[in-house]
Symmetry: D3
Amino acid sequence: MNSSILVVTAHVGDFVWRAGGAIALHASQGTPVHLVCLSYGENGESNLAWQTPDISKNTVKQTRHAEAQEAARLLGIKTVDFYDLGDYPMNITPEVVSRLADNYRTLRPDIVITHPERDPSNLDHSKTYETVLLARMQAIAPGHGSNHIKPPQVLCFEPHQSELCDFKPNMLLDITPVWEQKYAAMRAMPTQRNLWDYYERVALQRGAQAGRRGQANTRYAEAYQSIFPSVHTTFL
Amino acid sequence: MNSSILVVTAHVGDFVWRAGGAIALHASQGTPVHLVCLSYGENGESNLAWQTPDISKNTVKQTRHAEAQEAARLLGIKTVDFYDLGDYPMNITPEVVSRLADNYRTLRPDIVITHPERDPSNLDHSKTYETVLLARMQAIAPGHGSNHIKPPQVLCFEPHQSELCDFKPNMLLDITPVWEQKYAAMRAMPTQRNLWDYYERVALQRGAQAGRRGQANTRYAEAYQSIFPSVHTTFL
Amino acid sequence: MNSSILVVTAHVGDFVWRAGGAIALHASQGTPVHLVCLSYGENGESNLAWQTPDISKNTVKQTRHAEAQEAARLLGIKTVDFYDLGDYPMNITPEVVSRLADNYRTLRPDIVITHPERDPSNLDHSKTYETVLLARMQAIAPGHGSNHIKPPQVLCFEPHQSELCDFKPNMLLDITPVWEQKYAAMRAMPTQRNLWDYYERVALQRGAQAGRRGQANTRYAEAYQSIFPSVHTTFL
Amino acid sequence: MNSSILVVTAHVGDFVWRAGGAIALHASQGTPVHLVCLSYGENGESNLAWQTPDISKNTVKQTRHAEAQEAARLLGIKTVDFYDLGDYPMNITPEVVSRLADNYRTLRPDIVITHPERDPSNLDHSKTYETVLLARMQAIAPGHGSNHIKPPQVLCFEPHQSELCDFKPNMLLDITPVWEQKYAAMRAMPTQRNLWDYYERVALQRGAQAGRRGQANTRYAEAYQSIFPSVHTTFL
Amino acid sequence: MNSSILVVTAHVGDFVWRAGGAIALHASQGTPVHLVCLSYGENGESNLAWQTPDISKNTVKQTRHAEAQEAARLLGIKTVDFYDLGDYPMNITPEVVSRLADNYRTLRPDIVITHPERDPSNLDHSKTYETVLLARMQAIAPGHGSNHIKPPQVLCFEPHQSELCDFKPNMLLDITPVWEQKYAAMRAMPTQRNLWDYYERVALQRGAQAGRRGQANTRYAEAYQSIFPSVHTTFL
Amino acid sequence: MNSSILVVTAHVGDFVWRAGGAIALHASQGTPVHLVCLSYGENGESNLAWQTPDISKNTVKQTRHAEAQEAARLLGIKTVDFYDLGDYPMNITPEVVSRLADNYRTLRPDIVITHPERDPSNLDHSKTYETVLLARMQAIAPGHGSNHIKPPQVLCFEPHQSELCDFKPNMLLDITPVWEQKYAAMRAMPTQRNLWDYYERVALQRGAQAGRRGQANTRYAEAYQSIFPSVHTTFL
């Protein structure tokens, strides 16, 4: 099979902190992983960059672009598409939805990975979730072109504070084999170096939870919540 | 009293599959039932039509228009208003809300029947619910004209997969007396013939649930969730 | 038809504050209304009585018994059954469930009215709800005797602080015609006179909410939440 | 690996209607499937049997025992344990929990399949769910014996009316390959023949839902909700 | 410290009925309290004004403007900003969000008080909540200017019918010391005099609930729900 | 004022991992903190102890008793009461509730700290929560003795996997000043040394979340959820 995975994030760092393990793992298994970043996170998620006196917004964006490219390379991502929509807050137009739907039709992902539905501290995340679902509708509709796709599963990655976002993970992914890659990608984003320790601990906590239920040597994991029921031919 | 009911749906088939029984039943009881279809469902809910080679979008819309007219006739609907907004996804502007509010002011419904609030697989449904509530606000406000109405009850009909939509029915409507009419209306929509069996079974399942709590001869039913508390002068 | 209603409460005052209007209204409509009080509320809901120096528990119970009898008379209740189980907390045994199931089989209610499922400040209320459902199972089972009944609807009345109890009323009952009776029954319970004003205001607030959706002359109402979907032959 | 599955139900019919497909499927894949029935459902779920004049409870239990044995045989169940606790309602003692924990320690299941947490119309189901979790605790505790087990996943099967039970399935199991077996097991339970059509339609509805997301030839499915996050080494 | 509070409401009356006590209390404690009213509520919340024959919308708006100014004065509000966006429904553009974000940056509030997230009967309230969160994002982002602020806590005040809005108050504010001020401000809004009794009773009910947990002389209170976890250095 | 705090846990280690910071902090502020441990956690939460060949249950209990005493001493706990009820699962009788109610009446706590309501992986935690609420009822009822207390606030501490337990913290307590004490108490429980790193990271994650909203030098925190609305005289 020619499976593929598409990751859609609001800001440029989200794919590393929240789904870097899943990306590296599936890439290492031969699955093409594609990335769409709706913004560079230049306004609200690049705070350390703004401490440089008189830095311009363009410079901040270029910095984040370069960091994201390097992190994507380290994780084995196949294609990256930067929409550059601006952030805090983000403005989603029907054209953005159409562009994403076109990405779906070209990439034909089995799984789309994105933010969970709710986040009162960051509505860019909620809007990204909604955009992912809107584009999914457009991409599966034959009236928008005969290259329509089968509806992909949508998995939500972990937000910054799970309980605030009603995040209820039903899947833990063992990312121990690719942890070094994820950690390297995190280090490739010095503009958000304040998050390095936090997300290392997230991975260790989820690893400890997964280890209780899975293999003893699981040390790092990521948590995901599936939106649509999954279809099985066996439970084992 | 001059009661009336207004049904508002995202796509042209929804009123048949989800509320055809309620429509036929109340029409047969002498209540005027009106219908607003926000779109023809031409893009995302007419898949069999698109299997015809080189069919144009206009032809698909004409086909769905004709099917809906015939189904509406069979169910005894008094007026049908097609907004033709396009679908998958649908775009709701303030003008759409105003147009619907005008419909409310003219038709003065006691009950508006529409989609439930949530449906991650189909945000057109969520938007329709929101539009119904927005128009309700506009229609009851005296500042928008002295023909303002009393706030109608809003009932949500059953979505395709109830648990995915957080649908919690608190009312089961016995549609056994009008089942033949509903079934005929379903058959009048051959573009979605893939749904005939599914919604016949939905009616039988809801009928079995209603039969346990109501009359023994209930065989078909529809499920509804009321949004606002209902007011009673007795429980019996 | 020979409809009847059974009210089941944890403590002796609950039927007055929370369902006195529904009781008086249906009694006035000719429906037999029966009452089961699982306890006298002597320990935790008779605080003013305990301010009398050296009062004995028996005296408190006798006082509450007399108050309840008088309130029941004023509301038109047909039969009252005091289980005298003690309270704060209450202990429910299988024998209590059986006794209540026997009441169901004798009284054959169409509707059972009781406390909502949750109340962290008062688990006697939660236990009463659970007991009502357990007895419902026992009463409908033919294996427990051939006089088994049809499953009655269960309606939950309003708790002291609705949001704390996840109470979501979907029915408002206009009790304006019987308000004087309810108020008299409230006054017949001087041991809880601290609640008189509070529950008069509850009735006025629910009346105001009902008045917006129902008749203009509604002034007092009670709120209820139905547990099982209701079956309808019309919505009007 | 020596995987195994344990199914725990309140009444004797539940394993057929709700999990018969999962049982037959995994048995056909070589996985040992074991069954615990806490009661024969003789009081509340054998209504047709009680229509025979003067039938004794013992005869009803024997009938249901024989039906269950035959259905279990048809589905390929390896062992059946009838606890014979009585029903409507069921009484769970610490001894019952210990007995079930011993079953866990002997059978060492990877997955336990049971009722969902809530069911206001049938608290035997809720109690069974709670018993499954209590026994799980006892079975994993080294202080109760050195043959303690790893904590199994718990999957909940579909209740009679899903929305009433807050059932949120996140897994659909394609049971098309074993449908004939499931249907034969259903027919082996003539005491509940009133459920044959209902559960055939449940399977068809879940099959239709699964077919949209999985293989085109899926015709029958069962729905499940997992209680604990599952651990993955890949999403594909 | 230079703490301040910002209240943001959809319509001109909301700050009085729902947060008048909190405003007067904090103003009396020396905290500057600022107010933003997104609309005058001229269309949907000025019904008594529209009973004057041939009244113009401008006159209604001037009336509500004057009432709000007087109520604000009575409560001790420091600044009032009327956005005059229109209502029923309200239209929120990115410019509105930016304007509010600028208010945040100038006023630098520790707490923003607004409507709860959900209200099916009044989506202007939901939109106001969303606008408050969007402006919060914009105001804290350094990319939108170096005068960015620390993220303020958001507290939601009580809606008209709490259960309909999923309102779950976790804070009760004792407003007994400033009740006379709040009541005077209510009386300064004769256009909504139909709400005087209702919100007096709301205050008495919340006061009764607070009195059980706080001081015996609490007679009036307001209920609030905090969106973000609060940070403590002690629980006492 | 003579405030005091009571902590009630299912197993002997819970007070350290989950509330050790709150205990040390309030003790250091001069507030008496009391502890009730319903069991030693000897069966299910002492796994490392059971790796010693032929160790007896009594020895395990003595080990845990000694560890708990030392940890309590390090945290400054004033009194410890071990109920020794056994665990996995725990059996709660009315006598246990009465004993705890007596503790309440003697200690007269303003706040009781315990487990959250739900934990499918550990029903001992749910039972403890229920016991805390039942004892609260008994302790406030004048019918159970004239030394009845005012109802205390109940705060729930963080469970092992928050999302699985529907834990929604609304309070973060900065425990940076007492972290060394908490860490020492953790080290005093070598039987559960597998949890040392996990709960250090929990404290760091909650500290990072609190630091965003509170003081910059917050490094460690604990999360709590209040059950009852708190009463305030100011928000600042």
